[in-house]
Every structure is written in structure tokens, then in C-alpha cells.
């Protein structure tokens, strides 16, 4: 609801008085690379889990409860004797699935709204952004808990809630990007040539703000991964027995005295995924907008 300055300082263009020496550029590229590798690792894990996991991740084995790491179970087993590596692999799938749907939903709704608001000269455009600001007062987790209370907790309600809560981020970035594009001379020329507003939006605005949007998608993905983990941790996300990193953490809590490893493994997985998407987003921002210092 901040009216005065832009609430996303990251989007402010910085002056380029030799802002970034070769060292800065190298660091930015390194960040992009590390991010891509970490994200690639999570994606690969999820893909492999479709065709192979060391054990059936749902297979309960009462003779193999809370085992330590060994040749048979690389990261040990949980309280039901389920293999931790296999659970982790399926958890990657859940994380990515929730992220994709949530970010996809936010992009599909938020981008057209933002572009519309930038082009609209009537009160409707302003109304869209006001509604957008209002939605910002409902954080993803709060929405998801409300959805859970009303519709029952599930992966679907979590995804939809995270997605809806992410809409304002996309609408804002699309609007501010579109406003810049709309002030350029080629848009003026297109308008003079009689191209309609929808045509301008599709031909000129969208291609030119796609970089911004990809960066936003990557950052939003990181936030969605965090939200899904927190929700599953609270019991508002993915239902058992489907493995999820957040629930693995929650189940580990009663064994902190015995086997803290059970908390560490999904914890590291969450951190790796979030770090990966954040670094990827930052690195891409540098690539798409070389005017910006690495932030």
C-alpha cells in the first residue's frame, strides 16, 4: 500500500558510473552459474524420481526404523522405516509441482492485469492496482491457512493460495515494465500506424518485459518453495503419505534428541532449492538488465 516511492527498490535503475568492474561481473556470472546448477540439481532429482528411487518411498519397514546412514540407506530411514533418499527425491517433485502451478497461476493472472493497468486510461486501471495493493495485505501463508480452514488442507489449496498471493508481484512488475515500454518511440509509431492496444501489448510490450518477468518468476519460485515447506510443516500443505520436505521437517521434530539428521536433510534440500532460484533470479536480472548492479 506504499504510495510514495517504488516498494521494490530492486527495480530502481542505478546510474552506471563504472558501477561494475570486471570483478562484479565475474561474481554475477558465478552467481548465475551456481543458481543454475542448484536449480538443475533439484529438477534432475525430481525427474529421476519418476523412473527410479532407491526404495519405494512409501514402503513402511518396521525392522528398519530410524536407521543411520549406511550403504543400504544412504541417508538412513525415518520413524516408519521409509528410505530418506527416496522421500527426498519425491519431495523435490512436490516442491517443483507446487512452485510451477503457483507461479504459473500468478503469472497468467498478474501479467495481463499489470499490462492492462498500464494502458488503461479509465478508473478501471487504477482500481486494478488498488485491489492489487489490498491483496498484498494477505501474505501467502495467511491465505493458505484461510483456504485450509474453509476448503480443507491439500496440495491444491496450498498451490492456489500461494499463487493468488503472488499475483500482486507480477502485476506490479508487469505494470512498471509496461509503462516504460509504452513511453518509447516505437510504441508511439505503432500507435500512429493505427495498431490497436491489444496488438501493441502483444507485439511490443510483452516481448520487451519478458526479461523482467522471467526474473520475477525465478524469485517468486523461491518464495513459493518456502511457502510450501512452511505450509506442509504446519499441516496445511501436502497430505500424507505424499512426501514433502516441509512435512519431513515436521515429522523430524519429535526425534531431534535421537536423530537431528532427519531435520537436517530436508532442511538442506529446502535451502538449496531456495538459494538456487534466488541466485538464478539475481543472475538473470544482471543478464537482462546490465544497467543494474548485482544485488
Amino acid at each position: 500500500m506504499s504510495t510514495a516511492p517504488d516498494s521494490q527498490p530492486a527495480a530502481q535503475p542505478a546510474p552506471v558510473l563504472g558501477a561494475r568492474g570486471p570483478a562484479g561481473r565475474r561474481r554475477a556470472t558465478a552467481g548465475l552459474l551456481i543458481g543454475a546448477v542448484l536449480v538443475g540439481l533439484v529438477v534432475l532429482t525430481a525427474l529421476v524420481s519418476f523412473v527410479w528411487t532407491p526404495y519405494d518411498p512409501l514402503q513402511v519397514d518396521s525392522t528398519a526404523r530410524l536407521l543411520g546412514p549406511s550403504g543400504e540407506h544412504l541417508l538412513g530411514t525415518d520413524k516408519f522405516g521409509r528410505d530418506t533418499v527416496s522421500q527426498l527425491m519425491l519431495g523435490a517433485r512436490t516442491t517443483l509441482f507446487v512452485g510451477f502451478i503457483a507461479v504459473g497461476l500468478a503469472a497468467v493472472v498478474g501479467i495481463p492485469l499489470g499490462v492492462f493497468a498500464s494502458m488503461s486510461t479509465s478508473w478501471l486501471g487504477a482500481a486494478v492496482m488498488r485491489a492489487n495493493d489490498l491483496l498484498l495485505a494477505f501474505p501467502a501463508l495467511l491465505l493458505a491457512i484461510m483456504f485450509g480452514a474453509v476448503f480443507g488442507a491439500s496440495t491444491l489449496t496450498a498451490m492456489v493460495a500461494i499463487g493468488i498471493a503472488t499475483i500482486p508481484a507480477f502485476a506490479r512488475i508487469a505494470r512498471s515494465g509496461a509503462l516504460q515500454v509504452l513511453s518509447t518511440e516505437y510504441v508511439l509509431a505503432a500507435r500512429a500506424a493505427g495498431r490497436r492496444r491489444v496488438g501493441i501489448a502483444v507485439r511490443h510490450v510483452l516481448p520487451n518485459i519478458s526479461g523482467l518477468l522471467i526474473v520475477q518468476a525465478s524469485v517468486s519460485f523461491a518464495i513459493a518453495v518456502l511457502a510450501e515447506a512452511a505450509l506442509s510443516f504446519l499441516g496445511f500443505g501436502t497430505r500424507p503419505p505424499t512426501p514433502s520436505w516441509g512435512r519431513m521437517l515436521q515429522e523430524s521434530q519429535e526425534f531431534l534428541y535421537l536423530t537431528p539428521r532427519l531435520a537436517l536433510v530436508p532442511g538442506i534440500a529446502i535451502a538449496v532449492a531456495v538459494l538456487g532460484f534466488n541466485l538464478l533470479g539475481d543472475g538473470l536480472r544482471d543478464r537482462f538488465d546490465p544497467k543494474l548492479e548485482d544485488r
Partner: protein
């Protein structure tokens, strides 16, 4: 100036009304009759009708909304359909606990992030700046509930120096109060500090490149003096903005952290209410959280005009 403040206040009030309508409407779409649920399936139609009248759920939705919303300003959130007790006092009790958490965590985040962010900006070409940036990037990737679990593992389970959870009111035993507060506040505050450090860094970097800082340097001020005299006020605006956005994150982070540390705050009340399908209670807590977020945004917008005199004119 006055017109601006009044306009901002009007927006705030309108947002409050819109948010209350949203929250109420959302909870009202739920299928099922609270009276029927409270009495169970074996209840007679007469007793259900009587309970419905007692709850007031036999009235039209608009009347129910008006009744609910008119009580909010005086802290009357209605009576729970499940426990049949007043909700307002429960929320008031829990708000105090959550406020301690959020305020201490914010203070910790500021104390850590301001010097670290300035350091990272001032030394952004050297190793120490890069280390601060890297560590803050790592910190952002660790959610506060995970940090909480790790802290419990180390300080409560391994070392046994701090309690793993629970809550002692400050009036009852100040020493124990602080001991119980340390881990949850660190879990919340350090993660927030990581996020904030990045914004402080980029805000200070922007300012460092401004002409007026270069002029100040040229006149012979050292880098820190130049920054202190001319830079901080200008860097403050984006930082305050992010801090305000973070309060929302902190409030909701507190919900999760309260669960980790078994703290009887607003978050626990919300989650218990959800588990018991106590919808009026959920509705009340959600409203309190949303009002808190809107209120912080209002304060920040008013604060801008204090920080930056240029914004007073417009």
C-alpha cells in the same frame, strides 16, 4: 501536507473495510451450518433453530457482517461457536505474546542488518563485502522455522543451555521470560536480517554513486562521514519500505515459529482455531493480522514525509 495525510488515512480506512468484507465473505462461503456442527447430527430441528438464533446465524449475511464489523473497533470479535467463549479477550492475550516476538525480532534484524549492509556496500569490491553478501544470500534461503529447529537442536538438545520451547510471561519471571524468548527471536530476526542486509547494501550502493556524495568526498570528507552526513537519509527510504513489507513476513513467520517453539501467541491461536474449525475465531485472528499489515503500511507512508521533505510538497 495535511491533505496528503488525510487522503492517505482515507485510503487506509477504505482498505480496512474492503479487507473486512473479503475476510467475512470468504468465511461465509463455507458449506455447513455452525449450529448444526456445534450440536452434532442427532440434534432436533428445534434445538438447531434455537442455537442458530443464539449464534445469530439465522440473520441475513449483510446483517451478520454489520454486527461483526461494528464490534471490531472496540475489540468485540463475537463469541466462538465452538468454545462458546468471547474471542476478543483471547486475541488480546495472544497479541501481547506475538508482539514481543515480532518487535524483538525486528530490533535484532535492524541491529544486525544496518551495519552489515553498510559494510557490504562500502566494501563491495573487497572480500569482506562479498562475504557479507554471500552469507546474507544463504540466510535468505533458510526459512525461520528451519532456523528455529536447527537452533533447538544445537542450543536446547546438544548444549542444553536454553529451553527448547514454551513461554513465561515477563511479569511472572523476567529471567525465564528472556531465556524462553532468545531462540525464537534469533530464528525470526536473523533470517529477516539477511533479507534486510541485501536491501541496505543496494540502497547504500545507490547513494554512494550519487553526485552529492562524490562532491562531499571531493570536499575532503571521509567515506563514512560523507555517508553519515548525506547518504543515510537518502538510503533510508527503500530500507524503510522493505522493513514495512517485512513486518508482514515477520507476523506470518511468527505463526510458524510459534508452532516450532510451542509459544501461545496469535499464530497458535489461529492454527488451533483452524484445527477445531472455529471459524469465527479464525476470522478474527486473520482480521487482526491483516489490520496490522495495513497499519504498518500506513505508518511507513507517513514516515516517508518525515524522512524526505521533498515528498511533503506533492
Amino acid at each position: 501536507m495535511l491533505v496528503q495525510v488525510l487522503r492517505r488515512l482515507a485510503v487506509f480506512v477504505l482498505s480496512l473495510v474492503a479487507a473486512s468484507v473479503l475476510v467475512f465473505a470468504f468465511m461465509a462461503v463455507l458449506p455447513g451450518d455452525p449450529a448444526q456442527i456445534a450440536l452434532g447430527v442427532s440434534a432436533t430441528p428445534e434445538s438447531v433453530a434455537a442455537t442458530r438464533a443464539a449464534f445469530g446465524t439465522d440473520r441475513p449475511l449483510v446483517v451478520q457482517y454489520a454486527g461483526w464489523v461494528s464490534g471490531l473497533p472496540v475489540g468485540d470479535f463475537g463469541s466462538s461457536y465452538v468454545s462458546r467463549t468471547a474471542i476478543g479477550p483471547q486475541i488480546l492475550d495472544r497479541v501481547q505474546v506475538t508482539l514481543w516476538l515480532v518487535l524483538c525480532a525486528t530490533a535484532l534484524a535492524l541491529v544486525l542488518a544496518l551495519p552489515l549492509g553498510v559494510l557490504a556496500a562500502a566494501r563491495h569490491r573487497s572480500a569482506s563485502g562479498a562475504v557479507v553478501s554471500g552469507v546474507s544470500q544463504l540466510g535468505i534461503a533458510v526459512p525461520s522455522f528451519l532456523a528455529g529447529i536447527l537452533l533447538v537442536t544445537v542450543f536446547a538438545v546438544r548444549l542444553g543451555v536454553l529451553p527448547s520451547g514454551g513461554w513465561v510471561p515477563p511479569a511472572q519471571n523476567p529471567g525465564e521470560f528472556v531465556r524462553h524468548l532468545v531462540l525464537p527471536v534469533v530464528a525470526l530476526g536473523v533470517v529477516q536480517a539477511a533479507v534486510l542486509t541485501r536491501y541496505v547494501r543496494s540502497a547504500v550502493l545507490d547513494v554512494l554513486r550519487e553526485d552529492y556524495v562524490r562532491t562531499a568526498r571531493a570536499k575532503g570528507l571521509g567515506p563514512l562521514r560523507a555517508l553519515a552526513r548525506h547518504g543515510f537519509r537518502n538510503a533510508a527510504i527503500p530500507v524503510v519500505t522493505v522493513l514495512a513489507l517485512q513486518v508482514a513476513t515477520l507476523l506470518i513467520g511468527a505463526v510458524v515459529v510459534e508452532r516450532v517453539f510451542v509459544i501461545p501467541g496469535l499464530g497458535s491461536l489461529l492454527l488451533d482455531g483452524t484445527a477445531n474449525r472455529d471459524l469465527l475465531l479464525v476470522q478474527g485472528v486473520v482480521m487482526v493480522l491483516v489490520v496490522a499489515v495495513l497499519l504498518v503500511n500506513l505508518l511507513v507512508d507517513l514516515l516517508y514525509t518525515v524522512i524526505d521533505p521533498r515528498l511533503r510538497a506533492g
